[in-house]
Amino acid sequence: MKVRYFAWIRQKVGVAEEEVSPPADVRTIQDLLDWLARTSPRHAEAFSEAKVFGAALDQAIMPLDTPIGAAREVAFFPPFTGGL
């Protein structure tokens, strides 16, 4: 499964994307997030921020309690700040 990071999450984790193989008990996006936080200190720090993350499954934005199912790509990003 590919995981992608955007903006300051990417900066903190240190990579824009990575291939991961989470265990079978990682069912939802939130499960994946918790599991990723344990994979390295950088991940732990990136995911410790008390901010609300957005996430997407195969480029479609989904709530964190959504089951990952057969999605091939999960993306994590901070709230959008486009416009002026």
């Binding site: 955007f6 903006a7 300051w8 901010k51 997407a56 480029q59 993306a75 990003f77 901070p78 709230p79 959008f80 700040t81 486009g82 416009g83 002026l84």
Partner: protein
């Protein structure tokens, strides 16, 4: 209905001319241009000088998100044409960031749709901004104001 995400600057006058050309039904064109400010004012007390800001986006996804927002505007209002142009990359104070245009026979539709487009764009299109300030890089946090502005268009 046109959406463009690009590094290059855009020509506001040319875009506005093009949008009405050949359609004499159009009586009203409302446009919004967002510019980089030299100062970031948060909550009225925290101020940072801004030397530049860098916009990151999600290639492939951004275009679709903007097109969806535009389609929603066309469902809600009687529009003859609309346009969203959003830049990414490094931009300095005074530079244009975004152009939103709505064209309609009457001004109420053009005004409402234009404001809707920029309000929804800010909370629903995958852009992120980082500011280059004298005290280092600062990622811009989402504003509660922007969420409130987007929410006022909820059904």
């Amino acid at each position: 209905m046109v959406v463009r995400v690009q590094v290059e600057d855009f020509d506001v006058g040319g875009e506005l001319d093009a949008i009405a050309r050949g359609n004499p039904r159009i009586g009203a064109i409302t446009s919004f241009v967002g510019l980089v400010r030299d100062m970031h004012v948060k909550e009225g007390y925290h101020r940072d000088a801004v030397k530049a800001l860098t916009l990151e986006h999600w290639p492939g996804v951004t275009d679709k998100a903007l097109a969806d927002i535009e389609a929603e505007a066309h469902r809600r209002w009687s529009l003859d044409a609309s346009l969203i142009v959003h830049r990414y990359g490094r931009l300095e104070p005074g530079e244009r960031i975004v152009l939103v245009v709505a064209a309609s026979p009457h001004r109420d539709d053009a005004f409402d749709a234009c404001r809707f487009l920029i309000d929804w764009l800010k909370t629903k299109a995958p852009f992120w901004k980082v500011e280059d300030t004298p005290s280092g890089e600062k990622w811009v946090a989402a504003h509660g104001d922007d969420d409130a502005a987007a929410k006022k268009w909820e059904p």
